[in-house]
């Protein structure tokens, strides 16, 4: 509980700020679009957080997001129907995760290094697959896909055929996925094993847990969620650029996970915390726009807000520990 008090407080301050900053700051419309952004961030954060819980790290997330987005655009533009294309993209993500997992567990390589290399490889792969993709390219090349594309967009992103946001579908997906993650993490043996691996891999191994397999599974989940994030990115944005789509998402995801109570040492974290942690950065970004802050101060304000949030969080945690 105390693990999420800090992030709850930070979110409360941010939403209060939104309310104060503009008459429309907390309008249904702006909350909906904020929630949708949070959803897209959150889906990716969930996977990264799971890896962190098992004591690993995945820096390839952002590149996988970008690569998946470009891949989906290119596949559909070149004539693959959107539904199988979506499935293919998720499988691509799972494949990336499998590769990461096997490299980490079989060759005993450092996750940091493996996934950093992955970051370059998949960013490059995205550029090889295509430079810029957008929905108009797809529907121009294949007008027959328009229906499926619109349906996917509506169901996954919550936007109608005109691109207007109808409901925060991505946030709904985040909640659904977080519920699933929470179930596995807190109610099943899988979760126990992941926590145990994160706390003390040796003890888990000696207890007969198949540590390598579980680690690999978690990397697969992480990269598949990143690929889903890429799919959402493509459907949500009007244009996806291979060189920048998803760039920095790996750090945003790690940030969300840590704000939500995951420890980079592993073994700590809750599904609720992951959702809350992922909600912070989009809220800050929304807030600085609403406040009309100058471009040059925005990065500083974002950094300081996160830092202050972290300090408050740590203080609350220490106090509760002293009392406990």
């Amino acid at each position: 509980m105390t693990r999420i008090l800090g992030v709850l407080g930070l979110l409360a301050v941010l939403y209060a700020g939104l309310w104060l900053s503009s008459e429309s700051g907390l309008s249904g419309r702006s909350l909906t679009s904020l929630a949708n952004d949070q959803g897209r961030y959150g889906v990716v954060t969930l996977g990264a957080a799971l890896v962190i819980i098992t004591g690993g790290i995945d820096l390839s997330v952002g590149a996988v997001v970008g690569c998946a987005a470009v891949l989906f655009g290119t596949l559909t533009r070149d004539g693959l129907h959107p539904y199988p294309a979506a499935l293919a993209v998720l499988l691509f993500g799972a494949g990336v995760g499998l590769a990461n997992g096997l490299l980490v567990t079989r060759l005993k390589l450092q996750p940091f290094l493996v996934t950093l290399c992955g970051m370059f490889v998949f960013r490059g792969a995205a550029r090889l697959v295509g430079t810029v993709v957008d929905q108009s390219q797809v529907t121009e090349a294949h007008p027959e896909f328009a229906g499926a594309m619109n349906a996917l967009t509506y169901v996954l992103v919550g936007k109608d055929e005109k691109g207007a946001l109808v409901f925060p579908a991505m946030f709904a997906w985040l909640l659904a996925l977080a519920a699933a993650v929470g179930f596995f993490l807190h109610r099943t043996a899988y979760g126990r094993y992941w926590y145990a691996i994160g706390y003390n891999e040796q003890a888990a191994r000696y207890a007969g847990v198949n540590v390598d397999r579980h680690r690999t599974v978690v990397y697969v989940v992480c990269s598949a969620l990143a690929a889903l994030g890429g799919l959402l990115l493509f459907l949500d944005s009007s244009t996806v650029q291979a060189d920048s789509a998803g760039a920095g998402q790996e750090l945003n995801a790690i940030l969300g996970a840590v704000l939500g109570g995951c420890s980079l040492r592993g073994g700590e974290g809750t599904a609720v915390g992951m959702v809350l942690g992922a909600m912070v950065l989009p809220a800050i970004e929304k807030l600085v726009t609403f406040v009309g802050m100058g471009n040059r101060v925005i990065p500083v304000v974002i950094g300081l807000t996160l830092l202050i949030g972290t300090i408050v969080d740590e203080l609350i945690r220490r106090r509760s520990r002293l009392r406990g």
Partner: protein, 367 residues
């Protein structure tokens, strides 16, 4: 520890709240307009200076945002939150006209929208385009190239640009090539041998375009210096080379690469836009010249038009492109092209003007 935390906690919370100027709630009745650029660059600082001036002159609240990266997914959320805040007008430098068409159409249906610097499809319902005719500006660049390497002899050219998918990028490149091309040599494939290696390219007139395309670097945040550096390594010892930089940050990047290889004067440079480094180098004779768009005017005009439209006055909408200017070391008399009066200011004079514009937003003209 506990005393420290007791002291820090309220301080931290207060600081968090203070980061949110509560006083920013707009006074009711005041018109608010938003401007969003395609990326962050000194070019856009000049635009911001003009926009600020116009906001003051026409009594509106202005939000001016430069997204950190040349990326639609950074720009779209800013446009959306402008709409959510209920601004009365939006000016956008469009990044991908095709891809963004749907979104911009939706926005234009709700809020007066104009495009600046980079146009969108007029079908989006945008009010008008504030900017130069990039193809014509590209032709002016082509004329500068011809001045550096006379067309009878031609030479080897390489072009650098942030993106060739944006309307302005594509048009600028096309303008340069159109100007250089002759009816018998307009993009014909060719191969030349530099330093023992075959290099493919295309011929425009007597000019050999290395690799047959402009090199795109993705934006100022993506280490644009590496492209001219690599190019110079490939062209080592080749005579009659002219490097052309078509986005504001490209000419300085090219210049530093040329300086690093001690090729100043041997390799010609033609630029675009008024980066202070570019202007200074023109005065010093290191760069042949540059074609400028006067971004200060973009900002000023955009806000002026949006303010007027918000008050119901549509008379200020532009019907034709703004004129570009050609900056060279010695300047020259005005000329007329495509029905516009084109100025030829001296680099030193123009640098002074730019310095003043930077100063008005509290920035020194970084050199």
């Amino acid at each position: 520890m506990s005393r420290l935390s007791r002291a820090l906690l309220p301080v931290a919370l207060a600081a968090g709240l203070a980061a949110v100027p509560a006083c920013n709630k707009p006074a009711s009745g005041r018109i608010k307009v938003g401007v969003v650029t395609n990326c962050a660059d000194p070019f856009w600082d000049l635009c911001e200076a003009g926009a600020n001036k116009a906001a003051k002159d026409f009594d509106v609240d202005l939000q001016f945002r430069q997204p950190e990266a040349l990326d639609v997914s950074r720009q779209t959320p800013i446009i959306n939150s402008f709409v959510e805040q209920g601004v009365k007008g939006i000016a956008v430098s469009v990044i991908n006209p095709k891809g963004q068409k749907k979104d911009l159409t939706r926005v234009a249906a709700e809020v007066p929208l104009l495009t600046m610097d980079n146009d969108a499809d007029p079908d989006t319902g945008r009010l008008c385009y504030v900017g130069v005719d990039n193809k014509a500006a590209g032709r002016a660049v082509g004329r500068l190239v011809k001045r550096a390497l006379p067309p009878e002899k031609g030479g080897v050219i390489a072009m650098f640009i942030g993106s060739d998918i944006s309307a302005n990028g594509g048009a600028r490149i096309q303008g340069v090539l159109d100007e250089l091309a002759t009816p018998d040599a307009n993009g014909a494939d060719a191969t030349r041998t530099f330093n023992g290696r075959d290099v493919k390219g295309k011929m425009y007139g007597r000019y050999f375009l290395v690799d047959g395309e402009a090199k795109t670097d993705g934006g100022p945040d993506k280490n644009p210096q590496q492209y001219p550096v690599t190019m110079l390594e490939r062209l080592e010892g080749v005579p009659d080379v002219c490097l052309v930089g078509l986005y504001a940050y490209n000419p300085p990047a090219i210049l530093s690469a040329v300086r690093a290889n001690k090729l100043v004067g041997k390799v010609k440079i033609v630029g675009f836009d008024e980066n202070p480094v570019t202007l200074k180098a023109i005065t010093a004779g290191e760069i042949e010249g540059t074609v400028v768009q006067d971004p200060y005017n973009y900002g000023y005009k955009s806000v002026e038009i949006l303010a007027a439209v918000a008050r119901g006055d549509k008379s200020k909408l532009l019907t034709q492109p703004l004129p570009y200017q050609v900056v060279t070391k010695d300047g020259g008399p005005d000329q007329t092209a495509d029905g516009l009066t084109i100025k030829f200011p001296k680099a030193a004079d123009y640098a002074e003007l730019v310095r003043g514009q930077f100063a008005s937003i509290g920035k020194s003209a970084g050199e």
